[in-house]
């Protein structure tokens, strides 16, 4: 009798265990992120660190394997002029039990608009619920990239309780396959995520535990990958990623999309540095850079030369621009001689640690044609903000090559563009091109317009493109052979839906 009870109890326990295992997934996957976690509030997030958010938050859309948006929390959409109507997925709840519906989605979008940190929501006027599962977003101006923007942080949906929480930055609540385990996580070291018991698509939960390690030190991250402490992690083009590339048993994945590194001569009208107003000077600078050597030495052969803002597989990419500012010291010197500043000049350039070696290399190139570039160190995380001020006549930034080209105008071209602190006036032609680019959502139509824009920008040479590096993810051999590992298009993270552990 007692035996029977014990035995059946054991069976029941077994059954429960099996059941929960199938619902919960098994094993652990460990990812390492190179930037420190600042906040887990997607709408306060100003760029990198998305891998911390993805396990918890899902966005309305996500990018498919070809980069085109596909619905995730949405079920479909329709764009009608300035109105974007989005049908939402039904039967989704947040991990705290709150329901996901149009009202919540509208509140999310409106909060993002009010906080005004997410670039992709700048064109949004407001959002409202049409019915329980229909969301309407009203735009200020035509925006062919709005759905793309909703694939990222701009489209991430937060639970109402989370929005109300002043400590949202460490208490994320979303609809995602995993929930954040604050107690198990260690601040500044590792974030632990466990399966979301109320997830709407349980089959996609393949792990019992997901960890994101905060390893800003490139060497530490490399060692962690070598020793199996992590299964995958993201890298910039640096010595450590070069080592991964040549280490047996490790693999460096070159993801879709990438980062374009470029120099911006913000003071192109010569307010502070008169030489920058001289087209010959700007062209000389563009010709003075040995992009080949730069890519090899500073970015360890992981980069390729760049003469335009787009990547090679992008729809706006124009092969005709390739090599337009090929390294040519004689030509550069000749251009300098022809300019009004044959004896050269001096200017200041802001720097943050990760760009230090790049700028040191650029300074070396400019020195060859008589231009002295002083490198002025700034606090990490402040470069973009400082670049928006007139503190420096020039700056250097990266740009995600698969960002919609419309942002090019928003960042650099318009008189009130973000990184046009000296309010330089664009030519009529550039303005017109920027306007035309917004009038259609069809890339077939928009492509030629942006190619033309890139050509005009190349002629003006106030944006000096240097190199493109692909998104780099270092993985172990096991991860490389794991069929469930899917790298997100144009993002330095792995899609968690359906991800299973390596063994």
């Amino acid at each position: 009798m007692t035996k029977w009870t014990a035995g059946s109890a054991f069976l029941v326990a077994m059954a429960l265990g099996l059941a929960s295992a199938s619902a919960q997934g098994s094993g652990t996957f460990k990812y390492a992120e190179q930037v420190k976690l600042i906040t887990m509030d997607p709408q306060q997030q100003s760029g990198s660190g998305v891998p911390y958010l993805r396990p918890v938050y899902e966005s309305l859309f996500e990018r498919g394997p070809d980069g085109k948006p596909v619905p995730l929390l949405a079920a479909g959409y329709e764009v009608d002029g300035l109105n974007v109507t989005i049908k939402l997925r039904q039967g989704v709840t947040f991990s705290n039990g709150e329901a996901f519906n149009a009202e919540v989605a509208a509140a999310n979008i409106n909060r993002g608009v009010k906080l005004a940190i997410i670039e992709g929501l700048k064109t949004v006027a407001s959002a409202e619920a049409v019915d329980e599962f229909t969301l309407r977003i009203k735009l200020k101006e035509p925006d062919p990239a709005i759905i793309d923007s909703l694939c990222h942080t701009g489209g991430m949906m937060l639970a109402p309780a989370a929005i109300a929480d002043p400590a949202l930055d460490r208490n994320p609540i979303g609809t995602g396959p995993y929930v954040y385990d604050k107690a198990a996580s260690r601040e500044g070291e590792v974030r632990i995520y466990t399966p979301n018991p109320t997830y709407w698509d349980k089959d996609k939960i393949g792990l019992a535990r997901y960890e994101v390690w905060e390893l800003p030190d490139d060497t530490a991250r490399l060692n962690a990958l070598k020793t199996g402490q992590i299964d995958a992690g993201n890298w910039l083009a640096n010595p450590q990623s070069a080592i991964i590339d040549r280490t047996p048993g490790l693999k460096l994945i070159r993801g879709t999309g990438g980062l374009n590194y470029h120099v911006i001569l913000s003071d192109r009208e010569g307010t502070v540095v008169p030489a920058f107003a001289d087209l010959n000077v700007r062209k000389a600078m563009a010709h003075a850079i040995d992009r080949e050597a730069f890519g090899k030495a500073v970015q360890f052969g992981l980069a390729e030369k760049s003469f335009q803002p787009y990547g090679k597989d992008d729809w706006a990419y124009d092969p005709a621009l390739e090599g337009i500012y090929e390294f040519n010291l004689d030509k550069a010197r000749e251009l300098m001689a022809q300019s009004k500043f044959p004896d050269g000049f001096t200017f200041d350039m802001p720097s943050i640690p990760i760009y230090q070696s790049r700028l040191e290399a650029l300074a070396g190139f400019f020195k060859e044609i008589g231009i002295t570039m002083n490198i002025v160190p700034q606090e990490p995380g402040t470069l973009a903000r400082i670049s928006r001020t007139t503190n420096f006549p020039a700056t250097n930034l990266v740009w995600a090559t698969n960002t919609d080209p419309k942002f090019l105008a928003l960042r650099y071209i318009y008189a009130d563009a973000a990184y046009n602190p000296f309010k330089a006036k664009p030519t009529e032609e550039l303005l017109a091109l920027a306007q035309q680019g917004l009038e259609s959502v069809d890339t077939e139509v928009r492509g030629p317009i942006y190619k033309k824009m890139a050509a005009r920008l190349a002629e003006d040479a106030f944006l000096i493109f240097v190199t493109n590096t692909p998104i780099l993810i270092g993985v172990s051999e096991k991860t490389a052979n794991n069929p469930t590992v899917v790298y997100r298009f144009g993002e330095d993270s792995i899609n968690l839906r359906g991800l299973k552990a390596n063994d």
């Binding site: 490139d218 060497t219 490399l222 640096n238 010595p239 450590q240 070069a242 080592i243 040995d290 050597a293 730069f294 090899k296 030495a297 500073v298 640690p353 230090q356 070696s357 040191e360 290399a361 300074a363 070396g364 020195k367 490198i375 160190p377």
Partner: protein
């Protein structure tokens, strides 16, 4: 030649050797620093390349003919960057140290002079800063000022100013009380002049020392701060930033870390070594080389000298027997010098032999030689020591350890230093019983109390738990005696056991020795310089001079009829209660130090009775009393007459 004591001998000779060693260090360290300064000033001419000139194609190269130390991540010449780094190092050290001095010294002088609230507030602030790890203070200051060479050096300057501040304040506080400052004020000098005139010269020496300490610390801190990116900013080449770059490329080219590391180490080492030399020099005044004075009479060669003294007669109850003992000490020059020669003596059960002489005559060493505890560089070369019929020189160190304490024990001169200050007196006696007798703890403690009681200390239970510093000198000596007797030794060596004590206590201790000897029946070797003390406790007295026995006689005979001029001198120097008035005659000069003994009679250079015959070796002669003097017979008659 004026005769120097052994102590003077040491100090006179040691500095000379150290000077030569420190001279080498000084020269090397100074040359390194001069080289550093030259490289810093002429970096532009000396460096083979522009330190910022890059060549991306030639990045991360190993050392080659073109690039002696290879190239860094941007293909810049490491040697050139290293040379230019000297400039940063010099600027950093100069800047931070100057700031520290200029900030710390005036404030320290001011608060030291003013005192009161100013002093209180500033000193509490300084204490607070000092209680934070230095690098954290620097990091917080840099948080306010921002990163960069000069800002980081200001931070370090502020940090290190605290030590200059305390130094200056300390000097002012000391000097303020000095009479001459007060007198200067009376004369009417202004406060400022007092500070400048009197305090500055006194600050200078410690200030110089502190500066060298600070320079070394600044160099290390600058490198550390630059390494974590808060100091010198790239592309400027500082050794710390070079290491920062090297750290990122360790896997690809570890050699990058070597040149800047070596540069830092060599520089800091030079500064520290120079600082040590300066500190030594300031500490004891600049030492001038002293040539050793050539002794007037070189000591005779000894290897050939056989024991020429008559051996003491054998007795049945003999406890200790020493025959022809010769002890050598190795000198700094490497050769050995005799320190005790031709010493023979014997002590029987219940007998007390006094060993008398001036300090430096070798009496204490005789005691230690018996125990086999003469210390490094001293060894017995001739003779035998027999204790209870056993030849001690044939024993191993382990066996010797057994003999000590059990068969022979020693009481030392100063009880306050011969008892270990860290343990209670009782535990120190108990320890002996536990290790030597293997008794239980309880038994040991009972015996301790008993012994302490036996040596005449009231409330022994309580006193056993006292620490040495809690007891009076007399009390402590009683404890030391109790410890020596704890294992019932057959021989007790007492080395000046009353010298360090109050006169009133001396007699009590001497009485105690007599009582204990009666009770325990041990033989006693009583070492003293005081003939009166020896007369009190000894049966026979042996007088020692310059490492040899010059006279031995029963107490009464010796006092009544000394045969050696030295014994006479000692007796004359004894104060007598009866005739107080005439000043005490003393023997002129000092005992010559080992290695500088006159050939022949060693007392000859101090002796009023010296004759030509004294220049040859004089043997110890006699039967029941012995003397080592060619004129012993004459002197005996002179005294008798």
């Amino acid at each position: 030649m004026t005769v120097q004591s052994a102590k003077e001998f040491k100090t006179a000779r040691r500095p000379r050797r150290r000077l030569s060693a420190s001279l080498v260090i000084t020269v090397i360290a100074t040359s390194v620093l001069v080289l550093l300064a030259i490289l810093a000033i002429f970096a532009d001419w000396i460096a083979p390349y522009d330190p910022l000139k890059q060549n991306l194609i030639e990045a991360l190269q190993s050392p080659s003919a073109a690039h002696w130390l290879g190239t860094d991540d941007l293909g810049r010449d490491v040697l050139s960057r290293l040379i230019h780094g000297c400039r940063i190092a010099v600027i950093a050290a100069a800047e931070a140290t100057t700031i520290a001095v200029l900030l710390g010294v005036p404030i320290g002088l001011f608060i030291g002079y003013r005192g009161g609230w100013w002093d209180w507030v500033v000193m509490r602030t300084v204490e607070a800063i000092v209680s934070i790890p230095g690098i954290m203070v620097a990091i917080v200051i840099i948080a306010i000022l921002g990163a960069g060479l000069h800002k980081a050096m200001i931070a370090l300057g502020i940090l290190y100013s605290t030590s200059f501040l305390r130094l200056a304040r300390g000097v002012v506080l000391a000097e303020r009380e000095e009479v001459y400052v007060r007198s200067a004020r009376v004369i009417g000098a202004s406060d400022g002049r007092i500070l400048l005139r009197h305090i500055f010269p006194n600050i200078a020496p410690p200030l110089i020392v502190q500066v060298t300490l600070t320079v070394g610390a600044v160099l290390l801190s600058e490198a550390g701060l630059s390494f974590i990116g808060l100091g010198v900013q790239p592309p400027d080449a500082s050794w710390g930033t070079m290491l920062n770059t090297a750290a990122a490329f360790m896997d690809l080219n570890w050699f990058l870390a070597i040149p800047p590391g070596i540069a830092i180490i060599v520089t800091v080492l030079s500064v520290n070594l120079l600082g040590d030399v300066i500190r030594d020099a300031v500490g004891r005044g600049i030492v001038v080389g002293v040539k050793p004075q050539t002794p007037a009479a070189r000591f005779e060669t000894f290897a050939s000298v056989a024991a020429d003294s008559p051996l003491p007669p054998r007795r049945e109850d003999e406890v200790l027997r020493v025959e022809g003992l010769q002890v050598m000490v190795s000198s700094r020059e490497g050769n050995e010098v005799p320190i005790i020669t031709d010493l023979s003596l014997a002590i029987a059960k219940g007998e007390t032999l006094g060993l008398v002489g001036e300090s430096g005559s070798g009496k204490t060493l005789t005691g230690l030689a018996i125990l086999g505890l003469m210390g490094a560089g001293v060894r017995t070369t001739h003779g035998s020591i027999t204790l209870n019929g056993r030849e001690l020189s044939s024993l191993t160190e382990k066996q010797m350890e057994k003999v000590r304490g059990n068969e022979v024990a020693m009481v030392f001169q100063d009880p306050t230093t011969s008892l270990n200050p860290a343990f209670t007196v009782g535990s120190q006696i108990a320890e002996v019983l536990l290790t030597k007798k293997g008794v239980s703890k309880k038994e040991a403690w009972e015996r301790v109390v008993e012994l302490i009681h036996r040596v005449g200390i009231p409330r022994p239970e309580e006193r056993a738990r006292a620490y040495p510093h809690e007891l009076s000198g007399g009390m402590a000596q009683r404890v030391a005696i109790a410890r020596a007797l704890s294992c019932n030794p057959s021989l007790l060596i007492a080395d000046e056991p009353t010298t360090a004590l109050d006169v009133t206590v001396q007699q009590e201790i001497l009485d105690l020795f007599r009582d204990l000897q009666e009770e325990f029946g041990m033989a006693m070797l009583f070492v003293t310089h005081d003939l009166a003390v020896a007369a009190d406790v000894c049966d026979r007295i042996s007088v020692m001079y310059a490492g040899e026995m010059v006279e031995m006689a029963p107490v009464d005979a010796l006092f009544a009829n000394p045969r050696h001029p030295y014994t006479r001198g000692l007796l004359r120097a004894m104060p007598h209660a009866s005739d107080r008035n005439p000043p005490l005659p003393t023997i002129r000069g000092n005992v010559p130090r080992p290695g500088f003994w006159p050939a022949g009679c060693r007392f000859s250079n101090r002796c009023d009775f010296r004759i030509a015959a004294c220049d040859t070796r004089v043997p110890l002669v006699g039967t029941d009393r012995l003397a080592r003097c060619v004129r012993a017979g004459e002197l005996a008659m002179e005294v008798a007459s």
